[in-house]
Amino acid sequence: MNRWNVMKRILPLLAGMALLLSACGRSDLSALDPQGPIAQRQYDLMKISISIMTLVVVVVFAICIYVLIKFRRRKGDKTIPKQVEGNHKLEIIWTVVPLILLLILGVPTIQSVFGMAKDYSKDKDAIQVKVTSHLYWWEFEYPQLGVTTAQELVVPTGKKISFELVSADVKHSFWIPSIGGKMDTNPGMSNRMYLEFPKEGVYRGKCAELCGPSHALMDFKAKSVSPASFDKWVAAMKAPAVMPADAHIAETFRSKCLACHAVGDQGTNGAPNLTGIGGRQTVAGILYNSDVVKDPQSEDKTVEENLKTWITNPQKVKPGNQMPSAADNQLTQDEIDGIAKYLAGYKLDY
């Protein structure tokens, strides 16, 4: 067959594959449906490599099938095939052609490696975020803005977000597939990377490095909002804490919860910051709040119910995590209900 004819048949196949791939998965999660320039660039590299590789696979499979059909031994065939030593021309061809194919992949690879490693830590226009991974939650600190949040990263659209990544305990890996590939968090040293969020939305993030029993459940969200909303969010985060109206609940919350957590200007950041938790998509990263997410699933509960589930027995939701259960914490059912109701109502306006 004419070589060009082969190409004419393969090219539409490759294009079809690419289309098929891009139709897969959730757009807020899948690396095949990129929502930002970094993920887009990675997806482009994937497409180049998948195309080259499909070409290779098709050639090999074609030869393979042809050979197996053509040269099968017929019954009673006793002839001895010619003992071929090799063929230098052929061997050189299948050394040089792969080299050329690799060059096609290698050049954009190198460009992207350096492109993605750009450092925006000194850029006044970029938002600096320090990500600290903990067993099994994520802390996001904005050193320029004096704000700390957890589990739900909030960023403005259209700006470079420059991350500094560290770990408080074991290795984890920070990954938002539809926005950009991952980077490990190493204890004792920090890594850098940057991402961009052109569109508003909430994207699913994952921990990608085995870190213990609840590694699978160490999800987080990345929420991109308009720059104006972002400014409002920062202001709301910095406002003094809203405490429970009921004095007893307020006291319980202060003594039992704020020993580790923080809201507004109260408490400490030893555990996830709870400011505005009523407006977050999830409790603990994995319990989806049916009254907050846009596409609730049948098994999702409201924020308040999810909070109760969590506070009552965190171990059951995320095995091996560090938060004491209600029993350990000596909380009565009334106190659980009161705290859950208060936190569910704690929303930020932005």
Binding site: C24, S49, L99, W175, R204, L210, H215
Partner: protein, 598 residues
């Protein structure tokens, strides 16, 4: 008793096969449990920490206790025969190597009964595997078990290197060696360079864990990335230690069953050497997301991509060995032919992974799980099955049942692709690897179900193989010397199974594919290179067994801080070494008359 004291390479090969296959079944059972857990979202078939123990033990068992020993089984069974030798260079060390592997593996698996199981992944990244975050004895079993088993591997590597260099029959120059022998030679070199690195890492981790050292403890000034480097400097060559022997097997099987000599022999050799060399240079491609910086990532990207070139050369050479041949579809050949496209799929995803910026997406996702199972299962395990079906008559004197063999192939092969092909997509859709469970409605549900069904099919294929072995056992030993009629190398010139001394007279090798050459010239036997005379054989010995038991005991002593027990175990080993040194054992001779009787 005979089996505990044997130093005969053929028997040791069978021991390796038996032990390796049992561990393969253990690792397979662990895999099935993993796939049951992941069959549906938010499943709680096993607990989260049990799951991490399962994946850790599955990976560690499959790589160190199943795949490598089964390869050692093939090497032991075949290499001395292929090069026309009567045994390996150091028969005593060979036995010692088996027993240390066996007791190391046993120690590792006793963790299941001790209730403290390694759970930090087969890579045991610190600090998760360090004393601060892993306070039980779980990882101690990993660290000590692998050290003991590693002694065995290293001894094997040294032994086969020496054997292949020194004990080839007259006339067998390096460029006349069968491809499998070449592959094992290069593999042995890799073992000799890579395993000491692992040992150093394991010793350092052991000191951190048992004696409060600070190699990897950040709090004490240690460095966690150091472990990643040490592990992968060993770990990447390790994957080539696994796959090169499979390349060798495929070369033999494909040539035999297409009745043709291997296409491009010298380029095949050159490709092997190049792959081995590059294999040492690319370890950091496992660390693209660790944060080594763009220069390192760029260099390791390109270095990794280059491996595709010699690998491609091998693939096309196999295809052109088949081209123009007279192809016979035996079970062994089915496995070999199944290997080629499967390994190509695994290889091309390897090139995709090598593009560092794209790997930021793939790394530690199910895409990687799919990739390395395509190379390890689709490459290595298919290769081992091909080799087992091919050399079974030589090892045991009985032909495996072809019908059952083909059933094994088809269930295993289809099950394999069902299990792992979809995992590429799971990874790209955002599923991280090593996850105990996943939330519903993320697009993972159906693909995971398909994957689990495939795993069951592979399990069935394996069971059929076991049945085949049992049924074959009941049959008479009637395999011919040249069991496939188209044998090309020296192992097919002697009876199946071979006598204790392999070759009555060392053969004279007159060209590549020595036996084929004689056959085409109308000869019915090899020309001997020496007169008939008494054959010197090494004596059997129980010492290797006792020495390994000593190390096994010492391992427990260290782990549970009973230092007198540790000292006792080490003492046992040293006393054995002492006896071995002072007692001059000259072995024994088999007389020519006896040979005639035998």
């Amino acid at each position: 008793m005979d089996w505990l004291t044997t130093v005969d390479h053929k028997k040791i090969g069978i021991l390796y096969l038996l032990a390796g296959f049992i561990f393969f079944l253990v690792g397979g059972l662990e895999a099935i449990l993993i796939r049951i857990q992941l069959m549906k979202p938010m499943n709680d078939f096993v607990a989260a920490d049990t799951f991490n123990e399962l994946i850790t033990m599955h990976g560690t068992t499959m790589i160190f206790l199943a795949a490598m020993p089964m390869l050692f089984a093939l090497m032991n069974a075949v290499i001395p025969l292929q090069i026309g030798a009567r045994d390996v260079a150091f028969p005593f060390l060979n036995a010692l190597g088996f027993w240390t592997f066996f007791f190391g593996g046993l120690l590792l698996n006793i963790s299941w009964f001790a209730g403290q199981v390694p759970d930090a992944g087969w890579t045991s990244y610190v600090p998760l595997a360090g004393p601060t975050y892993n306070g039980t004895h779980g990882v101690d079993y990993y660290v000590i078990g692998l050290q003991i088993a590693g002694i065995g591997t290293l001894l094997g590597g040294i032994n086969f290197m020496a054997t292949i260099i020194n004990m080839r029959a007259p006339g067998m120059s390096f460029m006349r060696m069968p491809m499998f022998t070449w592959a094992i030679f290069i593999t042995s070199v890799l073992i000799v360079f890579a395993f000491p690195v692992l040992t150093v890492g394991l010793v350092a981790l052991m000191f951190d864990r048992l004696f409060q050292a600070n190699f990897f403890e950040v709090g004490g000034g240690g460095n966690t990335v150091l472990w990643e480097h040490v592990f992968w400097v060993f770990g990447h060559p390790e994957v080539y230690i696994l796959i090169l022997p499979a390349f060798g097997v495929i070369s033999e099987v494909v040539a035999t069953f297409s009745r043709k000599r291997l296409f491009g022999y010298s380029s095949m050799v050159f490709a092997l050497v190049l792959i081995a060399f590059l294999g040492f240079m690319v370890w950091a491609h496992h660390m693209f997301t660790t944060g080594l910086g763009p220069v390192a990532n760029a260099l390791f990207s390109i270095g990794t991509m280059l491996i595709a070139v010699p690998t491609g050369v091998k693939i096309f050479n196999w295809l052109f060995t088949l081209w123009g041949g007279s192809i016979r579809f035996t079970t062994a050949n089915l496995f070999a032919i199944g290997f080629i496209p499967t390994f190509v799929l695994g290889g091309v995803t390897g090139v995709m992974l090598a593009s560092a910026p794209a790997d930021y997406q793939y790394h530690d996702s199910y895409f990687v799980v799919a990739h390395f199972h395509y190379v390890i299962v689709g490459g290595l395990i298919l290769g081992i099955f091909a080799g087992l079906h091919y050399w079974w008559p030589k090892m045991f004197g009985r032909m495996l049942n072809e019908g059952l063999g083909k059933l094994t192939f088809w269930t295993f092969f289809i099950g394999f692709h069902l299990t792992f092909f979809v995992q590429h997509f799971l990874g790209l859709l955002g599923m991280p690897r090593r996850v105990w469970t996943y939330l519903p409605n993320q697009g993972f549900d159906t693909l995971n179900l398909i994957s689990s069904i495939g795993a069951f099919l592979m399990g069935i294929g394996t069971i059929v193989f076991v049945l085949n072995v049992i049924i074959t056992w009941a049959k008479p030993r009637n395999a011919a010397a040249d069991a496939w009629e188209d044998g090309r190398s020296l192992e097919w010139t002697i009876p199946s199974p071979p006598p204790e001394y392999n070759f009555k007279q060392t053969p004279l090798v007159r060209g590549i594919d020595a036996w084929w050459k004689e056959k085409t010239e109308g000869n019915t036997a090899m020309t001997p290179a020496e007169p008939l005379g008494p054959i010197h054989m090494p004596s059997p010995s129980i010492l290797p067994f006792i020495m390994s038991v000593g190390l096994f005991i010492a391992g427990f002593g260290f782990m549970y801080a009973h230092h007198w027990l540790a000292a006792g175990g080490i003492l046992v080993t040293f006393v054995c070494m002492f006896f071995r040194s002072v007692y001059d054992d000259h072995g024994f001779h088999i007389d020519p008359e006896e040979e005639v009787q035998a």
